[in-house]
């Protein structure tokens, strides 16, 4: 995959051309746009903007994003300074910005950030309504993260989400008698047992891994119709569904490769890339890293993606790590900030950016499903509908500070790990998770 575009190239060629060069796809499909009047956002005199966003997955992401920002400056005269921040630092920087009432005007944080700092944010309903109507409507996960709980007010503008479906070796599954991963728990367990017998087991993180650990724990619960919260926000983790999920894990865990309770976010990538395991769950980054390295290109060729298995859930219970933009009340230029975000979500800017990301981020708006990136590599197409998911951190309750904290403190991951390693019974582990979760939700 070619990603070696310079900023100058992007500006000279135009961002669309740059994005297409990055993805190797051509803009065959046309994004359908509705003719909707844009909200009046008179830009303040002398406005300048500063924004933070998480660092790129691929160089083209940053190049196109910066080029889009430069286009906004060219059109409006508003200087935009974009800083790219490490993923682990963005939450702290958002907290400092929020508490001090100073700093960037705009931050693109992760999913629940706007719900934590809701009192410090400018409402974005006018922009969200316009963009939603113009581009076929916001997808379910975008609505969940973008809208304030129990209201129609938008406090964040989601820019995309990164899902973590199953990743497996086709040839190895075939060798143990499976064309694909079964959708039911019993079938999945049977597959994992056979993979283990074949010496190419499955491996899912049960360690303190923010993405992969929480991803697996959430899937395990959701696929058994268990959840952390009910619709009202009450902690209901200590339920018969959770205990059933943990009992299933007790059977499943012995089929995993050894050491998964100590795995962090990169451990499964390494184990899969080295051929130690044949099945795991991960974002598209694993596939691309295999594809780009000649030493592992054969593994990439043999790799297939599949949505996380449904189990007892009505649909595949997979959430996505969501980029969520917010505008702070302390900004002296709220209209300029809103206009900038609106500009970045318009087809001319957003489509090239989405394409440049090669599938790392999936769109929050229905119309962008026709973007060229999804008609390129068929193994990437599965990520297209990530934001159609109804599952999110804190499902089924309202998003709050506590839902993010439960994730960050690995409450659900450790509940699973303690049962898997026989440190606790399913009943005791569920009770302990309830105790810890209730502590976080005591003020919610």
């Amino acid at each position: 995959m070619k990603n070696d575009i310079t900023r100058r190239d992007a500006l000279v060629l135009g961002v669309s051309a740059a994005a297409l060069a990055a993805t190797g796809t051509s803009a065959r499909a046309e994004i359908k746009v509705a003719d909707v009047p844009a909200p009046a956002l008179p830009i303040e005199k002398g406005a300048t903007l500063r924004m933070l966003r998480p660092v790129r997955f691929v160089p083209a992401d940053e190049e196109v994003f910066r080029a889009n920002a430069a286009n906004f400056t060219a059109k409006t005269g508003v200087e935009v300074k974009v800083d790219f921040v490490g993923w682990e630092d963005i939450n702290q920087q958002t907290a400092v910005t929020s508490n001090s009432g100073a700093g960037p005007d705009i931050i693109i944080g992760f999913g629940d950030a706007p719900h934590i700092y809701v009192d410090k944010l400018v409402e974005l309903t006018d922009v969200a309504d316009y963009i939603g109507k113009r581009y076929g409507g916001w997808l379910a996960l975008a609505k969940k993260y973008g809208m304030k709980g129990k209201s129609n007010a938008w406090i964040g503008l989601p820019f995309g989400a990164s899902g973590g479906p199953l990743v497996y070796r086709k040839s190895i599954l075939k060798s143990v008698g499976f064309d694909r991963v079964p959708e039911d728990h019993a079938g999945f367990l049977d597959l994992c047992k056979k993979l283990q017998a074949a010496g190419k087991p499955a491996g899912f993180a049960l360690g303190n891994a923010v993405g992969d650990g929480n991803g697996f724990a959430s899937w395990l619960l959701w696929s058994h119709n268990a959840s952390l919260l009910d619709e009202e926000g009450n902690v209901i983790i200590n339920s018969k569904e959770t205990i059933a999920a943990l009992k299933y894990l007790k059977e499943l865990y012995p089929t995993f490769i050894a050491g998964t309770p100590s795995w962090n976010d990169v451990s499964n990538n390494r184990a899969y890339s080295s051929g130690e395991i044949a099945l795991t769950a991960n974002g598209v980054s694993l596939y691309f890293s295999l594809k780009k390295d000649p030493a592992t290109a054969a593994i990439a060729e043999d790799t297939e993606h599949q949505l996380l298995i449904k189990g007892l859930a009505p649909v595949s219970p997979m959430s996505g790590l969501t980029l969520n933009a917010m505008v702070f009340k302390h900004s002296p230029y709220p209209n300029a900030a809103k206009a900038f975000l609106q500009f970045m979500l318009e087809k001319e800017q957003y489509e090239p950016w989405l394409n440049a990301n090669s599938g790392y981020w999936a769109q929050p708006l229905a119309a962008y499903a026709d973007a060229a990136v999804w008609s390129g590599d068929p193994k990437v197409a599965i990520f297209k509908d990530t934001m159609k998911s109804n599952y999110y951190n804190g499902y089924k309750g309202p998003i709050s500070t506590a839902t993010g904290a439960v994730n960050a403190d690995y409450v659900l991951v450790q509940m699973c790990a303690s049962v898997a390693t026989d440190a606790a019974t399913p009943e005791a582990a569920a009770a302990e998770a309830e105790r810890r979760a209730k502590r976080y939700f005591r003020r919610s």
């Binding site: 702290q92 508490n99 050894a258 050491g259 100590s262 390494r270 500070t401 904290a405 403190d409 390693t421």
Partner: protein, 318 residues
């Protein structure tokens, strides 16, 4: 003949100005000289420490100002098995690692105290584990302990064929705990060894010569000369070592993040996990504050326990 007397030199001298007199005033001069240091300490030590203690008595979270809740955070911690687990492991980690560092460090110091070729070069090399940034050595150990790619497992399984499968260093509680202790010992030995070597260098050779003339064995020379003479420096180094080990953060956070199943959380890592990652600043501060009594006790114990003069001067000499 008339005689005119010249004015004395004293009357010619100008009286010193008020500023000069002010700076000649000793209490004022002392205050002025100490002010920068006191200011720096107040800004960079007292304020953060005071703020931390204050936060421990509030329910502050990231993104939300808290209110005073008294001892609520501490009451919760007393009922929290994870906090007790962190207390337990902090004590175990500190105890075993300090013992290991001192046993091996003292032994290494005694070896380095001998005369041998390239003595200075070897002493410099010994310092390397301590000089290397902790996170770098932690990452090296993380690889060494990796469940799939451990060099130790590779040697035992693929080269020596002693085992059939890899060692799961970090996947179960006690192996993970001891793996971290081993990493801490490896990292801490140089500090102890070099500090104790400095102490050994101060012992007069004439004491050993006299003892040898009296027919003392090597063990007796160590027992009655080296060890008592080293006690003051041992006390200081042990105090520092206990503090560094008890408050360790980087090794544990980089290698296990407190896992598996919270079994390797130290109080420092748990405080970070709750306060920063979990956003419960008040509770995180309470965990950090809860370390203070342990540290004070450990410091007093090693200071008074090891630095008593009578240990060095004979039991009957008070």
């Amino acid at each position: 003949m008339s005689v005119t007397t010249l004015p004395s030199r004293r009357t010619l001298q100008r009286q010193p100005g008020w500023l000069v007199r002010l700076f000649d005033y000793k209490p004022f001069l002392i205050t002025v000289c100490l002010a920068p240091a006191i200011g720096l300490l107040a800004v960079f030590l007292t304020y953060p420490l005071g703020l931390g203690v204050w936060l421990a008595f509030t329910d502050t979270t990231i993104g939300r100002r808290g209110v005073f809740v008294g001892f609520e955070n501490f009451q919760y911690l007393l009922s929290d098995p994870l906090w007790w687990n962190a207390v337990f492991y902090s004590i175990v980690y500190t105890g075993i690692a300090t013992f290991g560092k001192f046993a091996l460090g003292f032994w290494l110091a005694l070896l380095l105290n001998n005369h041998f070729p390239f003595k200075s070069l070897l002493r410099a090399i010994v310092l390397l584990p301590w000089i290397v940034p902790t996170v770098l050595s932690a990452l090296a150990f993380w690889w060494i302990y990796d469940p799939q790619f451990s060099i130790i497992s590779y040697l035992l399984v693929d080269v020596l064929h002693i085992r059939t499968h890899n060692i799961d260093f970090l996947g179960t509680p006690w192996p993970a705990r001891f793996s971290l202790i081993a990493a801490n010992i490896w990292r801490g030995i140089p500090f102890v060894a070099i500090s104790l070597l400095a102490g050994l260098q101060t012992i007069s050779p004439s004491l050993y010569e006299a003892a040898m003339l009296d027919g003392a064995t090597a063990w007796q020379r160590f027992r009655y000369i080296t060890f008592p003479m080293m006690l003051p420096i041992l006390a200081i180094v042990m105090t520092f070592s206990i503090i560094f080990t008890f408050t360790d953060f980087q090794l544990v956070y980089a290698i296990t993040r407190g896992g598996p199943v919270n079994s390797t959380h130290l109080l420092a890592t748990l405080a970070f996990q709750r306060g920063i990652a979990g956003g419960e600043l008040g509770e995180g501060a309470a965990i950090a504050v809860s370390m203070i009594p342990f540290l004070v006790f450990a410091t007093l114990f090693s200071y008074f326990g090891l630095a008593r003069r009578k240990w060095q001067q004979g039991e009957s000499n008070d």
